[in-house]
């Protein structure tokens, strides 16, 4: 099986990411309408948040006031996740068609990098604000604030990769126009 082109690993991955994107979008939509769901449905709205400095398992309508903060942060985080999946899907689309250096790929990679860094910083700021206001999550929850260096490092690597792809596209264009 080829790495790029039609019926390749890239085209299969594109399909997988597409499905993941639609699932993530549905998740974001469901999460955003959770507070306005009827009371009967509200009893079953629970989330497990395990990312970066936050590790919380909570029920949206049974916890303390902090649950709304956690809900808002998780909504922003999942939206960022959906955006990253969308951009990844768009990057893999031309690769699946056999075009590795697409002119829009560098910008998309940079945007993914920015989304990852912003999401990590927002999460850290949120946790710091949550602890600063004295809000306490329900029992069993653990909230600590720390900078998610792994995510920031990954974001910077993606931005550098974006620049690599930009240069690659320029080189490919020049090669194509060399007679």
């Amino acid at each position: 099986m080829n790495l790029i082109g039609s019926k390749s690993i890239a085209s299969t991955l594109h399909l997988v990411v597409k499905v993941a994107f639609f699932l993530a979008t549905a998740g974001v939509l469901l999460m955003s309408i959770a507070p306005i769901l009827p009371y009967r449905s509200q009893q079953h709205v629970s989330f497990v948040v395990q990312s970066g400095p936050l590790d919380v398992s909570f029920d949206l309508f049974r916890g303390t006031e902090a649950r709304w903060w956690i809900w808002a942060m998780e909504l922003v985080s999942r939206t960022c996740h959906a955006v990253v999946l969308y951009l990844l899907m768009r990057i893999l689309e031309p690769v699946g068609a056999g075009e590795l250096f697409h002119p829009k790929t560098p910008n998309r990679l940079r945007m993914i990098g920015c989304a990852v860094v912003i999401s990590a910083l927002l999460r850290t700021l949120f946790c710091a604000a949550l602890l600063n206001t004295g809000m306490v999550a329900e029992s069993g929850a653990r909230v600590s604030w720390a900078i998610d260096t792994d995510a920031i490092f990954m974001g910077i690597v993606l931005m550098v990769l974006g620049e690599v792809f930009r240069r690659g596209y320029v080189l490919r264009t020049e090669t194509e126009l060399t007679v």
Binding site: T173, E174, L177, T178, V179
Partner: protein, 73 residues
């Protein structure tokens, strides 16, 4: 770019078509068309050599340097 390709003029003088020249030189019609329409970013010495050999001309007959408007001011 200040370098202009005058391949069409040389071809007209020699009475040779683009398809015929592409076949004789051994490069694709698409690439020769890119060169003729001044869209090429670079020309290999081997291509220039083959063109000069077939058209019985010097590189200077095909490539000319033209001053840009901002350079002449």
């Amino acid at each position: 770019m200040g370098i202009r390709v005058h391949l069409d003029r040389v071809m007209l003088e020699r009475g040779i078509s683009l398809t015929e020249l592409a076949g004789r030189v051994g490069i694709t019609l698409a690439n020769l068309s890119i060169l003729k329409s001044n869209k090429a970013k670079a020309v290999r010495f081997s291509t220039l050599d083959a063109l000069c050999k077939e058209l019985h001309c010097a590189p200077g007959d095909i490539l000319k340097y033209e001053m840009r408007a901002e350079e002449t001011e």
